[in-house]
């Protein structure tokens, strides 16, 4: 199959959806001629023009507010927030407006809004440009939360997100942007709410999101050599969550490691662990282990940053405590 990078796959989904539906448009900082801070929107501006690939002022509240107002009056905006850390300046428009509008209005509004934003560390961008804040949004009824780990998933899930009639938070990972993978051509939709078993295995279930899926697959490879078999599950969408696939794997292996790059404390891994501790306790042969960032802001210096961020070796260590 044809290979695309994760960012090319995202751009392709945007391009196809914009061709398909004239109500789809993009807005964000430097998404036009500049092509996006990480180059994701690239040349879309050339095909669709300034109106549909709109450069905005550095006003995240206005970006999301405008997107909400446009969505609720018939458009299908895709807003880019340059770093997910900047969601902190537009939380109200996401959490109190977009997420709740339909409900507060008794079901009479639709808010088909997609917010794309990168998470993650690894590029020495320090504490205000490296966070992974997806867990916050999973706490807010009314939002959907998507987090692809591969180029193909990025394309299929973004297509679904744009077509979804609800506000969808779409979290990309900076380090994944250049990573290539097979990506189906043409229309490709992955329904929200379906986990993917990225690798089958029998000894330990690793539930991983975003870049930690890659780390988990590395760990699986390394451990396979030692005769330990990991099953790697990528929920892909955190809300709605495919509990079934997760619980079936736990039943099979009896051992669980949950891995995400976000700070462990109150990360989405806590929610997954809690679900398992409620619904699959009897299957468990060992404690549930979580792997995530250590409880610190992300530091600048590479040695410090690598220490705080989780890696495949942390997954390996967690697995070894279980088997």
């Amino acid at each position: 199959m044809r290979q695309l990078s994760y960012s090319e796959a995202i751009r392709e989904a945007l391009r196809l959806e914009m061709r398909r539906d004239s109500n789809v448009f993009i807005l964000g900082e430097d998404v036009g001629q500049f092509g996006g801070c990480f180059g994701v929107t690239g040349d879309l501006w050339k095909e669709f023009g300034e109106d549909r690939v709109r450069d905005t002022p550095i006003s995240e509240t206005a970006i999301i507010g405008t997107a909400v107002g446009a969505a609720v009056t018939g458009m299908r905006p895709v807003a880019e927030i340059m770093f997910c850390d900047f969601l902190t300046v537009c939380m109200d428009q996401l959490v109190n407006q977009a997420a709740k509008m339909r409900y507060m209005f008794g079901g009479k509004a639709v808010v088909p809004l997609t917010v794309r934003t990168p998470v993650g560390g690894g590029i020495s961008a320090a504490a205000q440009h490296s966070q992974s804040l997806e867990a916050w949004f999973t706490h807010v009824p009314g939002l959907k939360v998507v987090m692809p780990s591969t180029a193909a998933d990025a394309k299929g899930l973004l297509t679904a997100a744009i077509r979804d009639d609800n506000p969808v938070m779409f979290f990309e990972h900076k380090l994944l942007y250049p990573v290539k993978g097979d990506v189906p051509e043409g229309e490709y939709v992955i329904p929200l709410g379906q986990a993917d078993v990225k690798r089958e295995g029998s000894d330990v279930t690793v539930i991983a999101t975003s870049i930690m899926v890659n780390r988990a697959l590395e760990a699986a490879e390394a451990l396979a050599a030692e005769g330990i078999s990991l099953e790697v599950i990528d929920p892909r969408t955190l809300v709605p969550l495919d509990e079934e696939t997760i619980l079936a794997s736990v039943e099979k292996t009896g051992r669980v490691v949950i891995a995400h790059e976000a700070v462990t404390r109150s990360g989405f891994g806590a929610e997954i662990a809690a679900i398992i501790a409620e619904k699959a306790l009897d299957y468990l042969d060992a404690p549930i282990k979580r792997v995530g960032s250590k409880p610190a802001p992300i530091p600048f210096s590479g040695v410090l940053e690598q220490f705080v961020l989780p890696g495949s070796q942390d997954i390996i260590a967690a697995v070894k405590e279980l088997v």
Partner: protein, 317 residues
């Protein structure tokens, strides 16, 4: 303006006044729960502004939204039922006073977040522009809201993209207990238009014709693609910030002075003086509106409460 329309402006103001007066009573009786922010005294602003709008135009409203919703064509019965938390209300009892919306007549929602609508209104404007319609959006907000995030970012984005939005600041002198002179150093919120390179207009918010005309001009500009206008309507709320507020922060004298400038009395007098209506006709309107309000209350009272499980519906489309 033709007589019919003039009389209708009067009727709309009376509808808001009587509705709110009744809500105040019902709140005191414990029939309406939650927070209730009344629009009494400010009727001319919503009514004068909305008289310029078509049903397919949009408004964004505030926590003090009953007046806007009625003036934009909201259904009084559905509003009252919503205030009662009934299943037949606008939001099926899920929203209450601060979240009344009617997508069919362009009411994009009252809003519990001060300045919330200032974020959303530019989006409705952009939507009309991208869809190639000439719909406009009127965005109501308070003097207090003019110090929020969304005021600055929202008006700026509307200005650079020349969006068809009319920003209407209802300067009722206070944000809860804080007088305008203590929350900003400008005398006129309209002066802030300079910061966005758009026209800023001060108008007597208790003069329905003045509001009508100022907003009319702005609507014309917006429909013509000339971008947003900031209009400041000077007015006053007669009641407390919310029902139950003892208003320790203001004087009886100040209130009395503003009551002198009642937008309804004033416009009624004007209509009679101009020979557009007689005192009797105005009384008839009041009586008719009384009936309308009574009917709305009856509808609300007789409506069923929602069923608990309905709380889990309408979250996702």
């Amino acid at each position: 303006m033709e007589k019919e329309k003039l009389v209708d402006l009067y009727r709309q103001m009376v509808r808001v006044r009587q509705f709110e007066t009744k809500v105040s009573e019902l709140f005191a009786q414990g029939k309406i729960p939650g927070f209730v922010h009344l629009y009494i005294g400010e009727e001319a602003t919503a009514v004068g502004a909305c008289a310029n709008l078509r049903p397919d135009d949009y408004i964004t409203s505030t926590h003090r939204g009953h007046g806007h919703c009625l003036a934009k064509g909201g259904d009084m019965k559905l509003m009252m039922a919503e205030l009662f938390g009934k299943k037949t209300g606008y939001c099926k009892g899920k929203g209450g006073s601060m979240h009344i919306a009617d997508m069919d007549v362009g009411i994009l929602g009252a809003n519990g977040i001060v300045g919330g609508g200032l974020g959303i209104a530019p989006g409705a404007g952009l939507s009309a522009k991208l869809r190639g319609t000439d719909q406009v959006t009127a965005c109501f907000f308070g003097d207090g809201a003019s110090n929020q995030t969304t005021f600055h970012e929202g008006i700026n984005i509307a200005s650079i993209w020349r969006l068809p939005v009319i920003f209407i600041c209802e300067n009722n002198q206070y944000g809860i207990s804080l007088h305008q002179s203590k929350h900003q150093r400008v005398a006129d919120v309209a002066d802030r238009a300079v910061a966005y390179g758009i026209p800023g207009v001060v108008v007597d918010g208790n003069d329905v014709m003045a509001v009508y005309e100022a907003v009319g001009e702005a609507v014309k500009r917006a429909r013509a693609g000339e971008g947003p206008t900031l209009i400041e309507a000077k007015t006053y709320r007669w009641h407390g910030h919310f029902e139950g507020d003892p208003t320790v922060y203001r004087s009886e004298k100040e209130l009395a002075e503003w009551k002198e400038r009642c937008p309804i009395l004033r416009f009624g007098k004007h209509l009679v003086e101009m020979g557009v209506a007689t005192e009797q006709e105005l009384d008839t309107i009041k009586a008719e509106v009384d009936n309308e309000v009574e009917e709305a209350v009856r509808f609300a009272e007789e409506s069923p409460l929602p069923v608990p499980e309905e709380a889990l519906e309408d979250i996702y489309a």
